[in-house]
């Protein structure tokens, strides 16, 4: 079976985020960008399925500016077979991305789509669920275990109370949570090999998708800063503060 993995280029999770002075957005010039960490997990899962002989081909897709090529290269170096860049300068909101992905799914015919559960820039946690809806496929979100069977996939999900296991008829959409696997680092030879793997570039228009944002960001701002408090000398002092100053115990 073919597996499709959407990967987003985001500000690296270690970067200290700064709001632009005019409140229109977040500073991204000269900021380290990386593959969304959940998408690394999704790619890793697909590569493991291929190594286990369960997946035949892994197609990685990114929707974004030309520089998203780098993100696709990283995924190719991890073991994906080919990439598709859906190139746009527009802000990519989940519904638009889901529509782009649906168009690609219709074209490529994968049996499984594995996304990250959440992009760490917009923190939306929507795209996989939306894609599943548009395709009329079942969804296994927040997956910590994915076991393909005969015409089905069994997904263990991280839910608020613990874990839940569901069985989905294939084709299906899965979104990766943190405990699904530990993504590998691409080795140097694999990085070299990845340079020769194909990446197609298409425009959203060519897929018949309007990616215009539905939500307008009126402004962005930093949240109120929390002030550092005091250091206490010992446990007795701590208990005293909690009882007599903060009055929380």
């Amino acid at each position: 079976m073919k597996v499709l993995v959407p990967v987003k280029r985001v500000v690296d999770y270690n970067v200290k985020i700064r709001v632009k002075a005019d409140g229109t957005g977040v500073e991204t010039a000269n900021v380290k960008m990386s593959m969304n960490p959940f998408d690394e997990i999704a790619v890793e899962e697909a590569v493991r399925l291929k190594e286990a002989g369960k997946a035949s081909e892994i197609i990685v897709v990114s929707v974004g500016p030309a520089a998203s090529q780098e993100t696709l290269r990283t995924a190719l170096a991890m073991g994906a077979d080919r990439g598709v860049l859906v190139q746009t300068e527009a802000e990519t909101q989940p519904l638009a991305v889901a529509k782009v992905l649906k168009a690609l799914v219709d074209k490529e015919g994968p049996t499984l789509v594995i996304l990250g559960k959440q992009a760490i820039d917009d923190d939306c946690n929507q795209t996989g669920q939306m894609l599943a809806a548009l395709l009329g496929w079942p969804q296994g979100t927040f997956a910590s275990k994915v076991v393909p069977g005969e015409g089905t996939v069994t997904v263990t999900r991280e839910i608020d109370g613990g874990l839940e296991t569901v069985e989905l008829k294939l084709p299906a959409v899965v979104t990766a949570d943190l405990r699904l696997n530990e993504p590998r680092y691409a080795s140097l030879p694999n990085i070299m090999k990845a340079k020769k793997k194909p990446i197609d570039t298409v425009a959203p228009d060519a897929l018949g998708v309007d990616v215009a944002p539905r939500l307008t960001t009126l402004k962005v701002a930093e949240p109120p800063k929390r002030k550092a408090g005091v250091k206490v000398a010992d446990v007795a002092a701590l208990v005293d503060k909690l009882k007599n100053e903060a009055r929380v115990i």
């Binding site: 949570d177 701002a221 208990v239």
Partner: protein, 313 residues
């Protein structure tokens, strides 16, 4: 137009997060309908009818809704949604699973995790692990919204007397089936509802050592949480994780033990009223948000703290 709120429940009881979602709905308008989709959920519907501010309860009681599979519940909500200006749910694992599916079927955007209602079409929400607050406006005819529960004080669970209307069920999709659930059992308060939370990180070194935190938590009547590192290492189950991609908590008192204070962790707890950090590294970033910091070895400090508190009882 009326507002539809999807109730979070386990067929036996209405989950408190629903009350926060109702509170958010009240900031938008006053005609609030609560949908209870489940099986054998009559009792939940009765509880829902008592929630202050709810004007009608819709009960869809059928085997198809027993496990809240989004493949089955989304079409039900979509069928109802046309009559509403807003569809809301708490940003719990159920709300997050269901609402984007509903939104896509309605061809509208979904707005995740709102912190405030600025007007009927404008909301604030956190992005970049809560380091940035965005104000977003929706042009869509139906606003599909998940609500950060800690940002809205719960609507009273009693005081209402809404009528309960029963809905016909739609056929199950047949594309997904529930297999099993493994719920973490605990006598302690639920993490997102607790007044006091004691969380442990990698510094705890093992699951066994979490007993130290459990003893402290029991003295305080607190819930136990954890950092991602502690969950990844297998010290505690996944549902203990507090943070950007785990649970969001805002208790009266949050005690972080052996947690460094990565932004992804802070995202889940920095709205707590009082923060205490116990860490042996005085440079740990957690001290930058802690009201009270104790630089100490946790293996000494935590038992001492438990003993000191026990003394007072």
């Amino acid at each position: 137009m009326a507002i539809l709120v999807i109730a979070d429940h386990d067929n036996a009881a209405l989950k408190p997060a629903t009350l926060n979602a109702v509170a958010a709905a009240q900031k938008i308008g006053s005609d609030i309908h609560l949908l209870v989709a489940g099986q054998g959920a009559q009792g939940v519907a009765e509880a829902a009818a008592k929630v202050a501010g709810v004007s009608k309860v819709l009960l869809a009681d059928d085997a198809a809704y027993k496990h809240h599979l989004p493949e089955n519940v989304a079409p039900l909500v979509v069928g109802l949604a046309k009559g509403y200006g807003h569809v809301l749910a708490a940003a719990t694992s159920e709300g997050k699973n269901l609402l984007p599916r509903v939104a896509a079927l309605l061809d509208v955007a979904q707005i995740s995790d709102i912190l405030s209602v600025e007007s009927a079409d404008t909301f604030t929400r956190p992005i970049y692990a809560g380091n940035v607050i965005a104000t977003v406006q929706s042009a869509d005819p139906i606003k599909v919204v998940t609500v950060r529960t800690t940002a809205f004080e719960a609507a009273p669970a009693e005081g209402g007397s809404a009528p309960v209307e029963t809905l016909a069920a739609s056929a199950p999709s047949g594309k997904s089936t529930f297999v099993s659930q493994e719920l973490t059992k605990s006598e302690r308060p639920e993490l997102t509802q607790a007044k006091i939370v004691v969380s442990g990180g990698r510094g705890m070194q093992s699951g066994e050592n979490f007993k130290l935190l459990e003893a402290l938590a029991d003295t305080l009547g607190a819930a136990v949480g954890a950092s991602r590192a502690a969950v990844d290492a297998g010290f505690v189950p996944n549902d203990y994780q507090v943070g950007q991609t785990g649970k969001i908590v805002a208790p009266e008192l949050y005690i972080a033990v052996g947690i460094s204070g990565a932004i992804q962790h802070l995202a889940g707890m920095k709205d707590s009223k009082v923060i205490v950090a116990i860490n042996k590294d005085e440079e740990a970033p957690i001290f930058q948000v802690a009201d009270y910091g104790l630089v100490a070895d946790l293996f000494k400090a935590v038992p001492e703290l438990t003993a000191e508190l026990d003394k007072g009882r």
